[in-house]
Symmetry: C2
Subunit: 133 residues, 2 copies
């Protein structure tokens, strides 16, 4: 599966359901996993061209530049793909909060074995002030 270092390579969008691959956004500075969203080839190309993380919204069925409403954009520092080229990892600089609930990361809930939930972070921004004004 390995490719020579100088070969061209792209994510293999044919491997995704409906041509969508999972894309993980990771904080380039502290390594926190911020969110997972989905990309089609258009979103991927737009991400590379603009340097801003751009996804495909499955609920809205459209391309979505993260932060276009909230201002909470993700500046892409680096893009990686996994060994079988069906998952994308973006290392980003996140403005504000990645999560629509106002947390910096969408993964603000920790589950224990008995399915109890603990909130592992503080709310960073009031979601109402960002999304409902």
């Amino acid at each position: 599966m390995s490719l020579p270092a100088d070969s061209p390579a792209l994510p293999d969008f044919s491997r995704g359901h409906n041509g969508l691959l999972p894309a993980i956004a990771q904080d380039a500075d502290n390594g926190d996993v911020l969110m997972l969203a989905w990309m089609n080839e258009t979103a991927w190309r737009q991400t590379l061209e603009t340097g801003k993380a751009t996804y495909f919204s499955r609920s809205r069925n459209s391309i979505w530049c993260k932060g276009e409403t909230s201002g909470h954009v993700q500046e892409v520092v680096e893009a990686r793909i996994d060994c079988d080229a069906d998952t994308i990892l973006l290392r980003v600089r996140q403005a504000g909060a990645a999560c629509h609930d106002g947390y910096r990361s969408c993964f603000y809930r920790t589950l224990s074995a008995d399915s109890k939930v603990q909130i592992n972070a503080e709310v960073l921004v009031d979601p109402d002030s960002v999304y409902k004004k």
Copy 2:
């Protein structure tokens, strides 16, 4: 979307294609994203019960305890879910290499805007010695 801290919660497998949700494995010690695989509810429950990351292999169409062949198990330190409960984040202690290509992380390829590839890591183990003996 937020839940009270004491409420039970599980990943919502009904939101995944074929009941499968993406599960990210992250190194609990240094924050490296190691791999992404898929979980159904059985894999999720087995992961919580055994403390070892267990996925659903789409190619083999079966439950797969990571490391059962290679010995490269992932001891789960913590499980998180995202805001809409359709992505799982496992913080793990990885034995050996997560990647079948012998790298510690599957994300050993960095792509530049012109789609050139750079290998960003060293091979940790010889894959032939692990998977083909």
